[in-house]
């Protein structure tokens, strides 16, 4: 039976559309208290006083908790994946508007909400810094001293460092970019910026903690339950086995629900009160939890007269907000591909993660890559135009191909860059004459292509249980948040063990029973967990064969498993447990940022766009959006395709309409009413193409795909606008007003500022 490659609906789809799927929001426990967070209104300040008296006196309030109470339970109540810099509740200082300062607990969530309004806090205001480039100067310090978590070897040198907002500086030096630039025939230099936006999952953050006898159970909407368990155990000084983390389905994550979010807070509150505690954020509160890095990217290229890029220098400033979260990983792990999918002998990259007084920033569907692609694919297009070379021809000449070293020095392998690029070119019918429109409606087209390395090294473990009747259960820590991982793994198990995917039961994300997984992030799961699932299945298959031999059956017996168990144990009894730990090989980068083995696999994604620009209003209508990505050999092609489409739609919002607006550190549009994500009427005609290749080290040739559809969308739009009307937008989002302003500036009759 051939299971891998079948187009099957997601296994949980019926439960979801009939409203029976489990979500953390459904959890209600006896004696449960609801917590409501009192948040800072000050972007940066010393806490002088927190007045909770009136809130405590409100009938129905069980308790009001501040940072000082947390500290009685945990003397050093700081958490985070890269730095232990984030207090469970603010202690001496607040560092961004919206930072949790106190929590009201009540049996009635409405009482808790009302009581929060009775709390007041007094701060000594400190000067604040919001801009990533300004934060390079140590004039205003968000943290007095850096506190790396120790999890990552390359952050250890930052321990105890003070007088800086730089939470990580990553440098790559390949060849001699300065020397090559000096000799180049042409030099191009541009600066691009991206805005602060956010994940905005339709299931806002929610966590429940239940204290037990010598243990604690967390029910939480989280993408990395194993990390939560380790971090909670660390905070309490417990062994891991006293913490249980259960994650049902997620209503979207996109990188927002990674590492620790509300978990340390509800866990502490449950331990303080010895009662179950639930905190569920509103849609509006999500704007103060985690966001996507705003960036400034200065990019400079030297090009020879025949159109070959000979040198590229990249300076990237990542606005990480008040707490590091996973920002330092973003700055480094994305940093080494900042020069793009091009074969360039001389590259220098400087990538800086900066603390500022904004909502923290983390990973958002692309782990920093979409910000980089926005810059390097806009820049690459400008070079082609500057040299009067067709943008497709220029890229073709410079594309990186298998067998050539990427900027890090790692030889490219199983990366279908030319194939993806040509697939887009073909669909765009690039060589045919193009109608550029007339009058006030001008048309243009643009293209963009990108490369991403999966985060490494990371580990996944899986367990297969074959019951005595032959039915199979898979235990995996991957969180299925809509991407279809349960279904993909069922197909892999079914392929190895010769059953139908629909008959495999998948138990996910309960750390009491599911083994370790680094996290559901960065398109890593299908490759890492997929390999682990395959290995565990093969282990179980080998053990089943051994069991048959023990039962005296000949090799290659056609006895079904239930008969083998009966023969061996005399009745329907016993189990076979197959297991695996999968971690790919990896070589950490050296002092120059070079490594011969920087990633186990590469992702390739790109877009082609046709637009129509209304030159009187600046409105841009997308007439066509083509997306293509290298998907290896797809496990479930129908689901893979929806990943590509969904990612492109999400990036469309980040390209055209989504932006958090700040006024004095306060988000002025913290709601779906004023932070506009695309609606159905905004979706252009779309085509998604899975470019089938083979990832030789992947499970059945597959690789991750969750992010690839985001990469090319924004620069392809900007490139198409340039093609249509000759203006260049360098800052996201591309609003109609920005386009009209650029048009009018070009015509020499600029619009007034206000």
């Amino acid at each position: 039976m051939n299971q891998v490659g079948r187009n099957i609906p997601r296994l949980e789809v019926r439960a979801k559309v009939t409203g029976r799927a489990d979500y953390t929001h459904h959890v209600r426990l006896p004696g449960m208290l609801y917590g409501k967070v009192f948040r800072s209104t000050m972007p940066h300040g010393r806490i002088v006083n927190i007045d909770t008296q009136a809130a405590k006196e409100l009938p129905g309030v069980y308790r009001v908790v501040t940072g000082a109470d947390i500290q009685k339970l945990i003397p050093e109540p700081y958490y985070g994946p890269a730095f232990h810099d984030q207090p469970i509740l603010a202690l001496d200082k607040v560092r961004h508007v919206g930072e949790p300062v106190a929590v009201v607990l009540a049996s009635d969530p409405h009482v808790a909400e009302q009581a929060v309004q009775l709390i007041s806090a007094e701060y000594e205001e400190l000067p604040a810094v919001y801009d990533e480039v300004a934060a390079m100067q140590p004039d205003i310090l968000v943290h007095d001293v850096l506190k790396p978590a120790g999890t990552f070897a390359d952050l250890k040198h930052l321990k105890g460092r003070g007088g800086t907002n730089v939470a990580l500086d990553y440098h790559l030096r390949r060849g001699d970019a300065d020397a090559a630039m000096a000799k180049a025939d042409h030099v191009f230099e541009h600066t691009f910026k991206t805005q602060q936006c956010l994940h905005l999952a339709f299931e806002p953050f929610v966590s429940v903690a239940e204290p037990g006898d010598n243990k604690l159970t967390l029910y939480t909407a989280n993408q990395s339950p194993s990390f939560v368990r380790i971090e909670i155990a660390r905070l309490f000084g417990w062994p891991e086995n006293r913490v249980r983390v259960k994650v049902p389905y997620l209503g979207g994550g996109f990188g927002g629900k990674l590492y620790i979010k509300l978990e340390a807070l509800v866990a502490s509150l449950a331990m303080l009160t010895r009662r179950p505690v639930k905190i569920a954020l509103t849609m509006e509160e999500q704007f103060y939890m985690i966001t996507k890095h705003p960036t400034t990217f200065r990019i400079k290229s030297g090009v020879s007269k025949d159109g070959k890029i000979v040198a590229r220098k990249c300076e990237v400033f990542w606005n990480g907000g008040a707490y590091a979260d996973i920002g330092p990983r973003v700055a480094q792990k994305s940093g080494f591909t900042a020069a793009g999918p091009y074969d360039i002998d001389n590259v220098s990259v400087d990538s800086y993660e900066l603390y500022t007084n904004r909502t923290p920033a983390g990973a958002l569907r692309g782990f920093g890559i979409p910000q980089l692609v926005w810059a390097y694919e806009s820049h690459t297009d400008l070079i082609a135009r500057g040299l009067n070379i067709d943008p497709v021809e220029f890229r073709r000449k410079n594309l990186l191909r298998d067998g050539r070293p990427q900027a890090s020095g790692t030889i490219l392998n199983d990366a279908a860059i030319p194939e993806v690029f040509e697939a887009i070119v073909k669909r765009m019918n690039w060589n045919a004459p193009f109608d550029h429109g007339a009058g006030t409606l001008k048309r243009g087209r643009g293209i963009a292509i990108a490369l991403k390395a999966v985060i490494s090294p990371t580990t996944s473990a899986a367990i297969i249980n074959i019951s005595a009747d032959g039915s199979i259960t898979l235990f995996t820590g991957t969180v299925d948040m809509g991407q279809g991982s349960d279904t993909a793994y069922a197909l892999i198990v079914a392929e190895v063990l010769g059953v139908a995917a629909e008959d495999v039961r998948v138990i996910h994300s309960d750390t009491d029973v599911t083994p370790y997984d680094m996290g559901t992030l960065g398109s890593r799961s299908l490759y890492h967990m997929g390999n682990a699932v395959r290995l565990a299945s093969e282990d179980a298959r080998a053990k089943l064969r051994a069991l048959a031999a023990e039962a005296g059956l000949p090799e290659g017996t056609n006895y079904p498993p239930i008969e083998i168990f009966k023969k061996r144990f005399g009745m329907q009894a016993g189990n076979i447990i197959g297991s695996s730990n999968f971690v790919p090989s990896y070589t950490p980068p050296d002092a120059k940022g070079m490594s011969e083995n920087v990633t186990p696999f590469w992702m390739v994604g790109g877009s082609g766009v046709e637009v129509e620009v209304d030159t009187e209003t600046g409105h841009v209508r997308i007439l066509r959006l083509v997306n293509a990505a290298d998907c290896g050999k797809p496990i479930n092609p129908a689901v893979a395709k929806t990943q590509l489409t969904g990612a492109a739609i999400m990036q469309l919002g980040f390209s055209l309409s989504e932006a958090m607006h700040l006024d004095g550190g306060q988000v002025t549009n913290a709601s779906l009413a004023d932070y506009k994500i695309p609606g159905i009427a905004d979706i252009p005609p779309m085509e998604s193409e899975l470019v089938t290749a083979e990832q030789h080290t992947g499970p059945f040739g597959a690789k991750g795909l969750g992010e690839s559809g985001t990469f090319g969308v924004s620069p392809a739009i900007a490139n198409a606008i340039h093609d249509a009307v000759g203006i260049r937008i360098t800052e996201l989002p591309i609003t109609a007003e920005a386009v009209l302003r650029a048009l009018r500036a070009k015509e020499g009759r600029p619009l007034d500022d206000e």
């Binding site: 509006e284 009187e616 609606g679 009209l740």
Partner: protein, 291 residues
């Protein structure tokens, strides 16, 4: 959301009796689509909401009177207006304006009365109905009165209604041979509230525009008639030179505000362009997809 009382009166008189002109925390609620947003944002915390659903049947009719006027009950939903056969036949401009007014889920519950009384300038029905010369019927414990819709708005989120008054109906005079168009312009997403709304109606006599009504909304603090524009259009042919002058006059006379949808400078440009496009649309000469 903090708990509050919800009462469901069975008659209009009972509803008005429950309203208190002195207490701003007591408000009527029809579809609730706007009010709920304000409550979720904490901008409005009611002590009591007067839910009008039980008096709905009597006030949710849409009919054409013997004089040819369209009478829209205040409790009619926006979807009703969108799908009403008489509206489609007699006032296509109203029907056409509905498809981009928020989304079907909102249109299925939002009511005409609420859409008019809310006073948020970023709405679509008030400029459309103002340009159509609609009148509203208002009831209070003191009795019933009627006024032109254009006199309802006093400022940003402000109307001349007393807190114990309710709109019971809107009446639209027959359009006859008059031309009409409403242009909704958004700057973020398609189902957004408008950045700019422009509505025009006029008669045509020997190729010249007569008795024009030109209305701007969303970019201004309230729905506003553009009298200078109307003077320019009166008696003129719809030629580019005239429409460009009218566009300039519109940008000159309207008090345009900056907000999250865009700067005032940008919206002035939009108004200049869309005033012309609205007239063209009314004449069936502009069929491009509206941004």
């Amino acid at each position: 959301m903090i708990p509050f009382d919800m009462v469901e009166p069975a008659s209009l008189d009972e509803a008005m009796g429950l309203l208190d002109p002195e207490d701003p925390t007591i408000r009527p609620v029809a579809g609730g689509t706007a009010l709920m947003l304000m409550m979720k944002a904490g901008v409005f915390q009611p002590s009591r909401l007067i839910c009008l659903h039980k008096i709905e049947p009597e006030f949710s009719q849409i009919s054409v009177t013997s004089a040819g006027e369209l009478r829209i009950g205040a409790m009619a939903t926006l979807s009703q207006l969108e799908h009403d056969a008489n509206v489609a036949k007699l006032f296509p401009v109203l029907k056409n304006g509905m498809s981009r007014l928020s989304n079907p889920r909102v249109r299925n519950v939002a009511r005409i009365g609420g859409a008019l009384a809310h006073g948020d300038p970023h709405m679509d029905l008030p400029p459309m109905l103002t340009a159509l010369g609609a009148r509203i019927t208002i009831k209070s414990p003191q009795g019933e009165r009627e006024m032109p819709l254009e006199q309802l708005y006093a400022g940003y989120y402000e109307t001349v209604l007393q807190k114990n008054e309710l709109i019971t109906a809107a009446t639209v005079p027959p359009l006859g041979a008059r031309k009409a168009a409403y242009m909704k312009v958004t700057s973020r997403t398609a189902d957004d509230w408008p950045t700019l709304g422009v509505a025009v109606t006029f008669a045509l006599k020997d190729g010249a525009m007569c008795d024009p009504i030109a209305v701007v909304s969303a970019a201004t603090e309230k729905v506003t008639r553009m009298v200078e524009v109307e003077k320019l259009l009166q008696g003129a042919a719809a030629e580019d030179a005239v429409l460009n002058r009218a566009g300039d006059a519109a940008a000159e006379e309207a008090s345009i505000l900056s907000d999250a949808h865009g700067s005032a400078a940008y919206k002035r440009e939009l108004l200049r362009v869309y005033l012309r496009r609205a007239v063209r649309r009314a004449l069936g000469q502009d069929t491009r997809q509206v941004a």
